[in-house]
């Protein structure tokens, strides 16, 4: 039976997280830390983080889901550190906290969706305690194959051409139409915080990936079907980084038809399966203390 407890931490104990502990008789495995995606609190989009954490805890991983300062149940910071910087600091504080507990560890797995993936990636670059990284919808880069898939069949599809004309006409018509004024009240009361995600240059990501792979970090990248401006096939990710010797340290999956936050329950089930299978295969050698770096080009997991 798994148990959950609330932990407060950070210099002012203003950060809040929930630790999901494995059953007492489970063989100990590496702790997993979950990072907020945007403003969604520590339960994750549609409670996805809770479901993944409970599944991984059943497999032996202690799982810690916490809120960055100013998000969810955590207090805002009292200094002026930018959110992108404080997220890394706080993730490292979370590792300190979990690592210092009874049966603790000096090696961790980080999981994040969207901005959470970005912050996990950023933390992994500066903290060698990170030995595994699950990025849901991480940075991706277009390749020739992307453009062929994007435009290839559409060139010969009457339906695609009809849609192209319809959409272009609608945009032209909307651009000419007078825009309804937004009342001050509406502007003031409707707060939909935006996360403006900026993809770094590919070379920068490739360099960081080479460092992580060189350190033996295991990687799982799962793409939804909603970053189609950047990626439309799992194999594209590997092709976009021919200069990174991923070996079998990287597994990539593409969940067809899924929303960015893997909204549908069946898509959530798919992500949970991918993460738990990856834990069973890719992380098992790490539990034994191995840091072997294998050769190869990365593994494309079966896409739906």
């Amino acid at each position: 039976v798994i148990r959950e407890k609330v932990l407060k931490f950070g210099p002012t104990r203003g950060l809040v997280g929930v630790l999901t502990e494995p059953p007492p008789d489970a063989a100990p495995r590496l702790p997993v830390i979950f990072l907020n995606s945007g403003i969604l609190h520590h339960v994750g989009a549609s409670r996805l983080y809770v479901r993944i954490a409970r599944k991984l805890a059943e497999m032996g991983h202690p799982c810690f889901r916490f809120d960055f300062s100013g998000i969810g149940d955590s207090e805002p910071r009292r200094d002026t550190l930018a959110a992108a910087e404080s997220a890394v600091v706080e993730t490292r504080e979370a590792m300190d906290l979990i690592g210092a507990r009874k049966g603790g560890s000096d090696r961790f797995i980080l999981i994040g969706l969207c901005s959470g993936a970005d912050m996990a990636f950023k933390t992994a670059q500066v903290d060698e305690r990170v030995v595994g990284l699950v990025q849901l919808d991480p940075f991706a880069y277009r390749t020739t194959g992307y453009w062929l898939r994007h435009y290839g069949f559409k060139l010969f599809s009457v339906r695609a051409w009809r849609r192209f004309v319809t959409v272009r006409y609608a945009r032209w018509r909307d651009a000419r139409a007078p825009q309804p004024p937004v009342s001050e009240d509406e502007a003031a009361t409707y707060v939909a915080p935006e996360y403006r995600r900026r993809f770094p240059p590919r070379e920068q990501v490739a360099e960081a990936m080479r460092t992580l792979v060189g350190r033996g970090v295991r990687l799982l990248h799962v793409f939804s079907d909603e970053q189609t401006d950047h990626i439309n096939h799992a194999a594209q990710y590997l092709n976009a980084f021919p200069d990174v010797p991923f070996g079998n340290q990287l597994a990539v999956a593409y969940v067809k038809h899924s929303a960015h936050t893997f909204t549908e329950l069946s898509d959530q089930d798919r992500v949970i399966d991918l993460v738990s299978s990856w834990s069973a295969s890719a992380l098992a050698p790490l539990d034994a203390g191995s840091s072997t770096v294998a050769s190869g080009r990365g593994v494309e997991l079966a896409a739906r």
Partner: protein, 262 residues
Amino acid sequence: VNPFFFGSSKSPLYGVYHPPKSAVGPATAVLLCYPMGAEYMRCHRAFRQLTTLLVKGGAHVLRFDYFGTGDSAGDATEATFARWREDISTAIEELREMCQAERVTVVGLRFGATLAAQAVAGRPDVEHLVLWDPIIDGPAYVREMLVTHAAEQAARGRGAGDGTAGVHGFPLLKSQRDELNAMTLPTWPSSAARRVDVVRSSPSDEAEALATRLMAEGSAASYSVYPSNGNWAESDAFGSALIPQGIIQGIIGKVLESGVTA
């Protein structure tokens, strides 16, 4: 901020208790009841904002997750409305014990308002109920969710029957649909001898009729509109928050100026 687990040790509930930040007059104890499904995610920040303002005004506040939701134990597919009503009662007891209160105010949003009204029927320790954009017409609410679900499925090239009967990532179970379909204004529980404030972000004949009915039954009921965005059911692929300041301020006024103290 004091997050903790409470209730049964086999299926604990996650709650966050916020003690008052000022001693402005006699304290009020307030329980916040979340809506269901994706609306829970969308309102989380608004509840945090409401809490911050209430504790500044001297209130004790407890917000919590129902069984099978948020951080509480259980899977969403095991959840029933009956269980959620029991959870509200458990949370009332917990709040009373934490701040030694004899009476509490319960604020519920959308279906959380409906559940709260049902859960507190007959409880003498709940003297004040604030129903924020309450769901009154259950069948209409079900239709709204299913239409949204079907449209989302179609937009993603999936048939309406593909995947689950989930709405924005949360399951809508058959038992829940059946109960919602049987829920209309005439079946709304009586709140006699209680103060009930029905607050809306836009005018609603149905909500006004509810307040009128509660008044006729002997409640000190009121109906107020605080023009604000109330599109709780809206969702997007990235997860967004709605923090309608106008109605939040209105609720603060209703709670802190009610004269109902712990």
